[in-house]
Amino acid sequence: MVRCDDRPPYLILYRVIELKRLTKRYGDTLAVDDLSFNVEPGHVTGFLGPNGAGKSTTMRLILGLDSPTSGEALVNGRRYTSLSRPMREVGALLDASAVHGGRSAYNHLLCLARTNDISATRVSEVLQQVGLAGVARKRVGGFSLGMKQRLGIAAALLGDPGTLMFDEPVNGLDPDGVRWIRDLMRSLAKQGRTVLLSSHLMSEMALTAERIIIVGRGKLITEATVAELTERYPSLEDAYLALTASSVEYGAAR
Protein backbone atom coordinates (compact mmCIF):
# COMPACT_ATOMS: atom_id res chain seq x y z
CA MET A 1 0.00 0.00 0.00
CA VAL A 2 0.95 3.63 -0.18
CA ARG A 3 3.54 5.00 2.17
CA CYS A 4 3.55 8.41 3.68
CA ASP A 5 6.28 9.92 5.83
CA ASP A 6 4.29 11.83 8.39
CA ARG A 7 1.10 9.87 8.77
CA PRO A 8 0.51 6.29 9.91
CA PRO A 9 -0.66 3.98 7.09
CA TYR A 10 -4.05 3.16 8.60
CA LEU A 11 -5.15 6.75 8.10
CA ILE A 12 -4.21 6.61 4.47
CA LEU A 13 -6.39 3.58 3.83
CA TYR A 14 -9.44 5.54 4.87
CA ARG A 15 -8.60 8.69 3.00
CA VAL A 16 -10.76 7.94 0.00
CA ILE A 17 -13.78 9.12 -1.90
CA GLU A 18 -16.51 6.52 -2.21
CA LEU A 19 -19.55 6.91 -4.44
CA LYS A 20 -22.36 4.49 -3.78
CA ARG A 21 -25.03 4.36 -6.50
CA LEU A 22 -24.96 8.14 -6.63
CA THR A 23 -27.81 9.60 -8.66
CA LYS A 24 -28.77 13.19 -9.37
CA ARG A 25 -31.76 14.23 -11.39
CA TYR A 26 -32.51 17.80 -12.48
CA GLY A 27 -36.06 17.86 -13.74
CA ASP A 28 -36.14 15.08 -16.30
CA THR A 29 -32.38 15.01 -16.95
CA LEU A 30 -30.30 12.43 -15.17
CA ALA A 31 -27.02 14.26 -14.61
CA VAL A 32 -25.51 11.45 -12.56
CA ASP A 33 -26.95 7.98 -13.05
CA ASP A 34 -26.31 5.27 -10.48
CA LEU A 35 -22.62 6.08 -10.30
CA SER A 36 -20.38 3.98 -8.05
CA PHE A 37 -16.62 4.17 -7.82
CA ASN A 38 -13.84 4.70 -5.32
CA VAL A 39 -10.94 7.09 -5.50
CA GLU A 40 -7.89 5.87 -3.66
CA PRO A 41 -4.92 7.66 -2.15
CA GLY A 42 -1.37 7.61 -3.36
CA HIS A 43 -1.90 8.39 -7.01
CA VAL A 44 -3.69 10.88 -9.21
CA THR A 45 -7.05 9.63 -10.45
CA GLY A 46 -8.12 11.18 -13.73
CA PHE A 47 -11.83 11.91 -14.11
CA LEU A 48 -12.77 11.99 -17.78
CA GLY A 49 -15.89 12.36 -19.82
CA PRO A 50 -17.46 14.50 -22.51
CA ASN A 51 -18.99 17.87 -21.68
CA GLY A 52 -22.20 17.29 -19.79
CA ALA A 53 -21.16 13.81 -18.67
CA GLY A 54 -21.74 14.74 -15.04
CA LYS A 55 -18.17 15.26 -13.81
CA SER A 56 -18.77 18.65 -12.24
CA THR A 57 -22.12 17.56 -10.84
CA THR A 58 -20.42 14.55 -9.25
CA MET A 59 -17.87 16.83 -7.62
CA ARG A 60 -20.62 19.14 -6.36
CA LEU A 61 -22.45 16.12 -4.93
CA ILE A 62 -19.29 14.96 -3.14
CA LEU A 63 -18.95 18.45 -1.64
CA GLY A 64 -22.56 18.51 -0.48
CA LEU A 65 -23.31 21.53 -2.67
CA ASP A 66 -26.04 19.61 -4.46
CA SER A 67 -27.95 16.92 -2.63
CA PRO A 68 -28.21 13.55 -4.37
CA THR A 69 -31.55 12.27 -5.60
CA SER A 70 -30.46 8.87 -4.30
CA GLY A 71 -27.29 7.10 -3.29
CA GLU A 72 -24.47 8.76 -1.41
CA ALA A 73 -20.95 10.08 -1.64
CA LEU A 74 -18.57 9.54 1.27
CA VAL A 75 -15.23 11.12 2.06
CA ASN A 76 -13.11 9.19 4.52
CA GLY A 77 -16.18 7.13 5.29
CA ARG A 78 -18.30 10.15 6.19
CA ARG A 79 -20.70 12.40 4.39
CA TYR A 80 -18.95 15.64 3.52
CA THR A 81 -21.75 17.70 5.06
CA SER A 82 -21.08 16.15 8.47
CA LEU A 83 -17.53 17.54 8.59
CA SER A 84 -17.11 20.48 10.96
CA ARG A 85 -13.85 21.79 9.43
CA PRO A 86 -14.09 20.37 5.92
CA MET A 87 -11.15 22.34 4.50
CA ARG A 88 -8.83 20.22 6.63
CA GLU A 89 -10.11 17.03 5.00
CA VAL A 90 -11.11 17.97 1.48
CA GLY A 91 -9.81 20.71 -0.76
CA ALA A 92 -11.56 21.48 -4.02
CA LEU A 93 -11.22 23.71 -7.02
CA LEU A 94 -14.47 23.76 -8.95
CA ASP A 95 -14.48 27.09 -10.76
CA ALA A 96 -11.43 29.30 -10.68
CA SER A 97 -13.37 32.39 -11.75
CA ALA A 98 -15.72 32.12 -8.76
CA VAL A 99 -13.98 34.89 -6.83
CA HIS A 100 -14.93 38.46 -5.95
CA GLY A 101 -12.85 40.58 -8.32
CA GLY A 102 -12.55 43.42 -5.82
CA ARG A 103 -10.75 41.42 -3.17
CA SER A 104 -7.01 40.83 -3.11
CA ALA A 105 -5.69 37.29 -3.45
CA TYR A 106 -4.51 37.37 0.16
CA ASN A 107 -7.82 38.64 1.51
CA HIS A 108 -9.80 36.18 -0.58
CA LEU A 109 -7.87 33.27 0.89
CA LEU A 110 -7.97 34.73 4.39
CA CYS A 111 -11.79 34.97 4.17
CA LEU A 112 -11.90 31.27 3.39
CA ALA A 113 -9.24 30.34 5.95
CA ARG A 114 -11.02 32.10 8.82
CA THR A 115 -14.11 29.88 8.54
CA ASN A 116 -12.05 26.76 9.22
CA ASP A 117 -9.70 28.31 11.79
CA ILE A 118 -6.75 28.30 9.43
CA SER A 119 -4.02 30.82 10.22
CA ALA A 120 -2.93 33.81 8.16
CA THR A 121 0.56 32.28 8.09
CA ARG A 122 -0.85 29.33 6.20
CA VAL A 123 -2.44 31.75 3.69
CA SER A 124 0.97 33.27 2.95
CA GLU A 125 2.43 29.78 2.72
CA VAL A 126 0.03 28.56 0.04
CA LEU A 127 0.38 31.83 -1.90
CA GLN A 128 4.09 31.16 -1.94
CA GLN A 129 3.51 27.56 -2.98
CA VAL A 130 1.38 28.46 -6.00
CA GLY A 131 3.65 31.31 -7.03
CA LEU A 132 1.27 34.18 -6.28
CA ALA A 133 3.18 35.70 -3.35
CA GLY A 134 4.24 38.63 -5.50
CA VAL A 135 0.67 39.58 -6.40
CA ALA A 136 -0.92 38.61 -3.09
CA ARG A 137 -2.09 42.18 -2.42
CA LYS A 138 -3.39 42.76 -5.94
CA ARG A 139 -7.11 42.68 -6.69
CA VAL A 140 -8.18 39.34 -8.13
CA GLY A 141 -10.24 41.07 -10.83
CA GLY A 142 -7.03 41.83 -12.71
CA PHE A 143 -5.80 38.24 -12.66
CA SER A 144 -5.50 36.12 -15.81
CA LEU A 145 -7.36 32.81 -15.89
CA GLY A 146 -4.06 31.05 -15.22
CA MET A 147 -3.47 33.15 -12.10
CA LYS A 148 -7.03 32.47 -10.96
CA GLN A 149 -6.41 28.75 -11.40
CA ARG A 150 -3.37 29.08 -9.15
CA LEU A 151 -5.46 31.00 -6.63
CA GLY A 152 -8.13 28.29 -6.73
CA ILE A 153 -5.49 25.64 -6.15
CA ALA A 154 -4.13 27.68 -3.24
CA ALA A 155 -7.63 27.72 -1.74
CA ALA A 156 -7.88 23.95 -2.09
CA LEU A 157 -4.53 23.50 -0.36
CA LEU A 158 -5.27 25.89 2.54
CA GLY A 159 -6.38 23.26 5.02
CA ASP A 160 -3.60 20.83 4.03
CA PRO A 161 -6.32 18.25 3.26
CA GLY A 162 -5.79 14.57 2.57
CA THR A 163 -8.29 14.60 -0.28
CA LEU A 164 -8.18 17.00 -3.21
CA MET A 165 -10.48 17.51 -6.18
CA PHE A 166 -9.67 19.71 -9.14
CA ASP A 167 -12.11 20.44 -11.94
CA GLU A 168 -10.24 21.46 -15.08
CA PRO A 169 -7.34 23.16 -13.28
CA VAL A 170 -5.16 23.28 -16.38
CA ASN A 171 -7.46 25.60 -18.37
CA GLY A 172 -5.83 28.92 -19.09
CA LEU A 173 -2.40 27.96 -17.85
CA ASP A 174 0.74 28.57 -19.89
CA PRO A 175 3.08 25.61 -20.66
CA ASP A 176 5.06 26.45 -17.57
CA GLY A 177 1.87 26.37 -15.50
CA VAL A 178 0.74 23.09 -17.07
CA ARG A 179 4.05 21.49 -16.10
CA TRP A 180 3.73 22.99 -12.63
CA ILE A 181 0.24 21.52 -12.12
CA ARG A 182 1.41 18.12 -13.31
CA ASP A 183 4.29 18.10 -10.84
CA LEU A 184 2.09 19.46 -8.06
CA MET A 185 -0.62 16.83 -8.59
CA ARG A 186 1.92 14.04 -8.65
CA SER A 187 3.74 15.27 -5.56
CA LEU A 188 0.46 15.68 -3.65
CA ALA A 189 -0.44 12.09 -4.51
CA LYS A 190 3.04 10.89 -3.61
CA GLN A 191 2.57 12.38 -0.15
CA GLY A 192 -0.27 9.89 0.26
CA ARG A 193 -3.14 12.18 -0.60
CA THR A 194 -6.18 11.27 -2.67
CA VAL A 195 -6.30 13.37 -5.83
CA LEU A 196 -9.24 13.46 -8.23
CA LEU A 197 -8.51 15.49 -11.33
CA SER A 198 -10.79 16.24 -14.25
CA SER A 199 -9.42 17.49 -17.53
CA HIS A 200 -10.03 17.32 -21.25
CA LEU A 201 -6.34 17.38 -22.09
CA MET A 202 -5.65 13.70 -22.74
CA SER A 203 -1.93 13.95 -23.31
CA GLU A 204 -1.61 15.85 -20.05
CA MET A 205 -3.78 13.35 -18.23
CA ALA A 206 -1.67 10.48 -19.54
CA LEU A 207 1.36 12.12 -17.95
CA THR A 208 -0.29 13.01 -14.65
CA ALA A 209 -2.75 10.30 -13.70
CA GLU A 210 -2.21 6.67 -12.88
CA ARG A 211 -5.83 5.60 -12.74
CA ILE A 212 -8.64 6.81 -14.98
CA ILE A 213 -12.37 6.96 -14.42
CA ILE A 214 -14.41 7.67 -17.54
CA VAL A 215 -18.05 8.72 -17.31
CA GLY A 216 -20.60 9.44 -20.02
CA ARG A 217 -24.21 10.60 -19.64
CA GLY A 218 -23.83 10.33 -15.90
CA LYS A 219 -22.88 6.65 -15.99
CA LEU A 220 -19.58 4.95 -15.32
CA ILE A 221 -18.00 3.80 -18.59
CA THR A 222 -14.58 2.57 -17.53
CA GLU A 223 -12.40 2.41 -14.47
CA ALA A 224 -8.84 1.38 -15.35
CA THR A 225 -5.19 2.29 -15.00
CA VAL A 226 -3.59 4.44 -17.65
CA ALA A 227 -1.27 1.52 -18.36
CA GLU A 228 -4.19 -0.82 -19.05
CA LEU A 229 -5.81 1.67 -21.40
CA THR A 230 -2.67 2.47 -23.36
CA GLU A 231 -2.05 -1.24 -23.74
CA ARG A 232 -5.42 -1.81 -25.37
CA TYR A 233 -5.44 1.41 -27.41
CA PRO A 234 -2.71 3.36 -29.21
CA SER A 235 -2.98 6.23 -26.72
CA LEU A 236 -5.13 7.48 -23.85
CA GLU A 237 -6.80 9.84 -26.27
CA ASP A 238 -7.76 6.97 -28.57
CA ALA A 239 -9.03 5.01 -25.60
CA TYR A 240 -11.11 7.97 -24.44
CA LEU A 241 -12.58 8.66 -27.89
CA ALA A 242 -13.43 5.02 -28.49
CA LEU A 243 -15.01 4.52 -25.07
CA THR A 244 -17.06 7.71 -25.05
CA ALA A 245 -18.10 7.59 -28.73
CA SER A 246 -21.66 6.67 -27.85
CA SER A 247 -21.97 9.12 -24.94
CA VAL A 248 -21.18 12.45 -26.53
CA GLU A 249 -24.25 14.51 -25.98
CA TYR A 250 -24.45 18.25 -25.84
CA GLY A 251 -26.96 20.27 -23.94
CA ALA A 252 -27.20 17.83 -21.04
CA ALA A 253 -27.48 19.09 -17.48
CA ARG A 254 -24.76 21.35 -16.08
Binding site: R60, L63, G64, L65, D66, S67, Y80, T81, S82, L83, P86, M87, A92, L94, D95, S97, A98, V99, H100, G101, G102, R103, S104, N107, H108, L110, C111, L112, A113, R114, T115, N116, D117, A155
Partner: protein
Protein backbone atom coordinates in the same frame (compact mmCIF):
# COMPACT_ATOMS: atom_id res chain seq x y z
CA UNK B 1 -17.29 32.71 15.63
CA UNK B 2 -14.84 31.81 12.89
CA UNK B 3 -17.55 32.30 10.26
CA UNK B 4 -18.36 35.68 11.78
CA UNK B 5 -14.70 36.69 11.50
CA UNK B 6 -14.70 35.59 7.88
CA UNK B 7 -17.88 37.53 7.07
CA UNK B 8 -16.49 40.63 8.74
CA UNK B 9 -13.36 40.34 6.63
CA UNK B 10 -15.47 39.86 3.49
CA UNK B 11 -17.32 43.12 4.13
CA UNK B 12 -14.12 44.97 5.00
CA UNK B 13 -12.29 43.90 1.87
CA UNK B 14 -14.60 45.12 -0.89
CA UNK B 15 -15.06 48.71 -2.01
CA UNK B 16 -18.85 48.60 -2.27
CA UNK B 17 -19.09 48.43 1.54
CA UNK B 18 -17.18 51.69 1.93
CA UNK B 19 -19.28 53.27 -0.80
CA UNK B 20 -22.50 52.25 0.95
CA UNK B 21 -21.23 53.53 4.31
CA UNK B 22 -19.92 56.76 2.78
CA UNK B 23 -23.16 57.46 0.93
CA UNK B 24 -25.14 56.72 4.09
CA UNK B 25 -23.16 59.29 6.04
CA UNK B 26 -23.64 61.62 3.07
CA UNK B 27 -27.21 61.83 4.36
CA UNK B 28 -25.92 64.16 7.10
CA UNK B 29 -24.42 66.49 4.49
CA UNK B 30 -27.68 66.45 2.60
CA UNK B 31 -29.50 67.41 5.80
CA UNK B 32 -27.03 70.21 6.47
CA UNK B 33 -27.41 71.52 2.92
CA UNK B 34 -31.20 71.59 3.22
CA UNK B 35 -31.00 73.28 6.64
CA UNK B 36 -28.57 75.85 5.28
CA UNK B 37 -30.87 76.64 2.33
CA UNK B 38 -33.90 76.81 4.61
CA UNK B 39 -32.19 79.18 7.04
CA UNK B 40 -31.12 81.38 4.11
CA UNK B 41 -34.64 81.56 2.79
CA UNK B 42 -36.13 82.14 6.23
CA UNK B 43 -33.74 84.99 7.06
CA UNK B 44 -34.35 86.80 3.78
CA UNK B 45 -38.11 86.79 4.00
CA UNK B 46 -40.53 89.14 5.81
CA UNK B 47 -41.50 88.64 9.46
CA UNK B 48 -45.13 88.05 8.42
CA UNK B 49 -44.15 85.15 6.21
CA UNK B 50 -41.66 83.88 8.80
CA UNK B 51 -44.57 83.54 11.21
CA UNK B 52 -46.19 81.02 8.88
CA UNK B 53 -43.02 79.20 7.76
CA UNK B 54 -42.58 75.60 8.77
CA UNK B 55 -39.93 72.96 8.10
CA UNK B 56 -40.06 69.21 7.96
CA UNK B 57 -37.97 67.11 10.34
CA UNK B 58 -34.77 66.97 8.32
CA UNK B 59 -33.51 63.79 9.99
CA UNK B 60 -36.71 62.13 8.74
CA UNK B 61 -36.24 63.57 5.26
CA UNK B 62 -32.70 62.25 4.87
CA UNK B 63 -33.44 58.93 6.60
CA UNK B 64 -34.15 57.32 3.25
CA UNK B 65 -30.47 57.74 2.32
CA UNK B 66 -28.99 55.41 4.97
CA UNK B 67 -32.05 53.15 4.73
CA UNK B 68 -31.55 52.49 1.02
CA UNK B 69 -27.75 52.45 1.14
CA UNK B 70 -27.64 49.92 3.95
CA UNK B 71 -30.44 47.94 2.32
CA UNK B 72 -28.38 47.73 -0.85
CA UNK B 73 -25.31 46.79 1.19
CA UNK B 74 -27.36 43.97 2.73
CA UNK B 75 -28.39 42.80 -0.72
CA UNK B 76 -24.86 42.93 -2.14
CA UNK B 77 -23.36 41.10 0.82
CA UNK B 78 -25.03 37.94 -0.38
CA UNK B 79 -25.89 38.45 -4.06
CA UNK B 80 -22.29 39.35 -4.93
CA UNK B 81 -21.43 35.83 -3.84
CA UNK B 82 -24.12 34.35 -6.03
CA UNK B 83 -23.18 36.39 -9.11
CA UNK B 84 -19.47 35.59 -8.80
CA UNK B 85 -20.08 31.96 -7.83
CA UNK B 86 -18.11 32.44 -4.62
CA UNK B 87 -21.17 31.19 -2.72
CA UNK B 88 -20.31 27.62 -3.76
CA UNK B 89 -16.97 27.90 -2.01
CA UNK B 90 -18.53 29.66 0.99
CA UNK B 91 -21.14 26.92 1.42
CA UNK B 92 -18.72 24.08 0.71
CA UNK B 93 -16.39 25.18 3.49
CA UNK B 94 -19.31 25.74 5.91
CA UNK B 95 -21.51 22.73 5.13
CA UNK B 96 -24.13 23.62 7.72
CA UNK B 97 -24.71 26.75 5.62
CA UNK B 98 -26.86 28.75 8.06
CA UNK B 99 -23.85 30.18 9.92
CA UNK B 100 -22.89 31.96 6.68
CA UNK B 101 -26.20 33.83 6.61
CA UNK B 102 -26.19 34.33 10.38
CA UNK B 103 -22.69 35.83 10.16
CA UNK B 104 -23.74 38.17 7.37
CA UNK B 105 -26.84 39.18 9.36
CA UNK B 106 -24.73 40.06 12.37
CA UNK B 107 -22.34 42.15 10.29
CA UNK B 108 -24.86 44.14 8.22
CA UNK B 109 -27.11 44.51 11.26
CA UNK B 110 -24.21 45.96 13.20
CA UNK B 111 -23.30 48.33 10.37
CA UNK B 112 -26.93 49.50 10.28
CA UNK B 113 -26.80 49.97 14.03
CA UNK B 114 -23.80 52.29 13.61
CA UNK B 115 -24.84 54.27 10.53
CA UNK B 116 -28.51 54.71 11.48
CA UNK B 117 -27.90 56.64 14.72
CA UNK B 118 -24.95 58.51 13.19
CA UNK B 119 -27.05 59.88 10.36
CA UNK B 120 -30.24 60.47 12.34
CA UNK B 121 -28.65 62.08 15.38
CA UNK B 122 -25.97 63.79 13.30
CA UNK B 123 -28.56 65.41 11.06
CA UNK B 124 -30.81 66.26 13.99
CA UNK B 125 -28.12 68.04 16.01
CA UNK B 126 -26.72 69.82 12.96
CA UNK B 127 -30.18 71.03 11.98
CA UNK B 128 -30.98 72.03 15.58
CA UNK B 129 -27.77 74.04 15.77
CA UNK B 130 -28.32 75.78 12.42
CA UNK B 131 -32.05 76.43 12.63
CA UNK B 132 -32.18 77.47 16.27
CA UNK B 133 -35.55 79.05 17.07
CA UNK B 134 -36.50 79.74 13.46
CA UNK B 135 -39.57 78.10 11.87
CA UNK B 136 -41.79 78.70 14.90
CA UNK B 137 -39.33 76.87 17.12
CA UNK B 138 -39.89 73.44 15.63
CA UNK B 139 -36.28 72.53 16.48
CA UNK B 140 -36.50 73.78 20.07
CA UNK B 141 -38.54 70.89 21.49
CA UNK B 142 -36.72 69.27 24.40
CA UNK B 143 -34.39 66.48 23.26
CA UNK B 144 -36.09 64.01 25.59
CA UNK B 145 -39.41 64.44 23.77
CA UNK B 146 -37.69 63.89 20.48
CA UNK B 147 -35.67 60.88 21.61
CA UNK B 148 -38.20 58.08 20.90
CA UNK B 149 -38.62 59.21 17.29
CA UNK B 150 -34.88 59.57 16.77
CA UNK B 151 -34.14 56.14 18.21
CA UNK B 152 -36.89 54.42 16.22
CA UNK B 153 -35.79 56.09 12.98
CA UNK B 154 -32.20 55.04 13.69
CA UNK B 155 -33.20 51.44 14.26
CA UNK B 156 -35.22 51.36 11.03
CA UNK B 157 -31.86 51.44 9.22
CA UNK B 158 -31.01 48.08 10.83
CA UNK B 159 -34.32 46.70 9.54
CA UNK B 160 -33.50 47.87 6.02
CA UNK B 161 -30.03 46.29 6.12
CA UNK B 162 -31.44 42.95 7.25
CA UNK B 163 -34.36 43.19 4.83
CA UNK B 164 -31.90 43.69 1.97
CA UNK B 165 -29.87 40.68 3.08
CA UNK B 166 -32.98 38.53 3.43
CA UNK B 167 -34.26 39.53 -0.01
CA UNK B 168 -30.82 38.87 -1.50
CA UNK B 169 -30.61 35.43 0.12
CA UNK B 170 -34.10 34.54 -1.06
CA UNK B 171 -33.84 35.84 -4.63
CA UNK B 172 -30.07 35.35 -5.21
CA UNK B 173 -30.24 38.24 -7.67
CA UNK B 174 -28.92 41.75 -7.09
CA UNK B 175 -31.34 43.39 -9.51
CA UNK B 176 -34.35 41.47 -8.21
CA UNK B 177 -33.63 42.17 -4.56
CA UNK B 178 -32.90 45.88 -5.05
CA UNK B 179 -36.03 46.27 -7.19
CA UNK B 180 -38.19 44.80 -4.44
CA UNK B 181 -36.43 46.85 -1.78
CA UNK B 182 -37.06 50.11 -3.66
CA UNK B 183 -40.57 48.95 -4.56
CA UNK B 184 -41.38 48.46 -0.88
CA UNK B 185 -40.28 52.01 -0.11
CA UNK B 186 -41.54 53.99 -3.11
CA UNK B 187 -43.91 52.08 -5.36
CA UNK B 188 -46.14 50.00 -3.13
CA UNK B 189 -46.99 52.85 -0.68
CA UNK B 190 -48.18 54.98 -3.63
CA UNK B 191 -50.33 52.17 -4.99
CA UNK B 192 -51.69 51.46 -1.52
CA UNK B 193 -52.35 55.16 -0.91
CA UNK B 194 -54.60 55.25 -3.96
CA UNK B 195 -56.67 52.22 -3.01
CA UNK B 196 -60.25 52.81 -1.87
CA UNK B 197 -60.86 53.00 1.87
CA UNK B 198 -60.72 51.13 4.16
CA UNK B 199 -57.97 49.22 2.33
CA UNK B 200 -55.83 52.26 1.79
CA UNK B 201 -55.57 52.88 5.52
CA UNK B 202 -55.36 49.21 6.46
CA UNK B 203 -52.57 48.36 4.04
CA UNK B 204 -51.01 51.78 4.52
CA UNK B 205 -50.54 50.92 8.19
CA UNK B 206 -48.29 47.96 7.49
CA UNK B 207 -45.99 49.76 5.02
CA UNK B 208 -42.37 49.74 6.13
CA UNK B 209 -42.24 53.53 5.93
CA UNK B 210 -45.24 53.93 8.25
CA UNK B 211 -44.13 51.58 11.00
CA UNK B 212 -41.41 53.65 12.74
CA UNK B 213 -43.84 56.56 13.11
CA UNK B 214 -46.65 54.30 14.27
CA UNK B 215 -44.30 53.00 16.95
CA UNK B 216 -43.82 56.53 18.27
CA UNK B 217 -47.51 57.36 17.79
CA UNK B 218 -47.03 60.15 15.22
CA UNK B 219 -49.91 61.53 13.22
CA UNK B 220 -49.82 60.10 9.69
CA UNK B 221 -53.17 61.38 8.39
CA UNK B 222 -51.60 63.65 5.76
CA UNK B 223 -49.44 60.93 4.23
CA UNK B 224 -49.96 57.91 1.98
CA UNK B 225 -49.66 55.80 5.11
CA UNK B 226 -52.20 54.69 7.65
CA UNK B 227 -51.75 54.60 11.42
CA UNK B 228 -54.06 51.87 12.61
CA UNK B 229 -51.46 49.84 14.48
CA UNK B 230 -50.72 50.37 18.18
CA UNK B 231 -46.99 50.84 18.94
CA UNK B 232 -46.31 47.25 19.99
CA UNK B 233 -48.00 45.78 16.93
CA UNK B 234 -46.14 48.24 14.70
CA UNK B 235 -42.85 47.18 16.30
CA UNK B 236 -43.63 43.51 15.69
CA UNK B 237 -44.49 44.13 12.03
CA UNK B 238 -41.31 46.17 11.57
CA UNK B 239 -39.20 43.37 13.05
CA UNK B 240 -41.03 40.90 10.80
CA UNK B 241 -39.85 42.90 7.78
CA UNK B 242 -36.29 42.12 8.85
CA UNK B 243 -36.75 38.59 10.12
CA UNK B 244 -39.17 36.87 7.71
CA UNK B 245 -37.13 37.35 4.50
CA UNK B 246 -34.03 36.21 6.41
CA UNK B 247 -35.76 33.06 7.62
CA UNK B 248 -37.03 32.38 4.11
CA UNK B 249 -33.50 32.91 2.78
CA UNK B 250 -31.99 30.61 5.40
CA UNK B 251 -34.54 27.90 4.69
CA UNK B 252 -33.99 28.11 0.94
CA UNK B 253 -30.23 28.25 1.35
CA UNK B 254 -30.34 25.02 3.31
CA UNK B 255 -32.64 23.24 0.89
CA UNK B 256 -31.50 24.46 -2.51
CA UNK B 257 -28.62 23.08 -4.51
CA UNK B 258 -25.90 25.69 -4.46
Amino acid sequence: MSVLASEWLKVRTVRSSYLALGLSLGGILLGIAVAWAAVGMYDSTTPERQAHASIADLEEVVLIVPQLCMGVLGVLTITSEYTTGLIRTSLAIVPRRWPVLAGKSAIVGLLGLVTGPLVVFGTYFAARLMIGDRFRGSYTTPLLDKLPTLVTSSLSVVVFALLGLGLGATLRSTAGAITILVGLVYVIPIIVGNLPEPWSERLGSVQIGALPREITGDDLTHSVYGSLLPPVAAAIVLIAYAVLPLLAGAWLMRRRDA
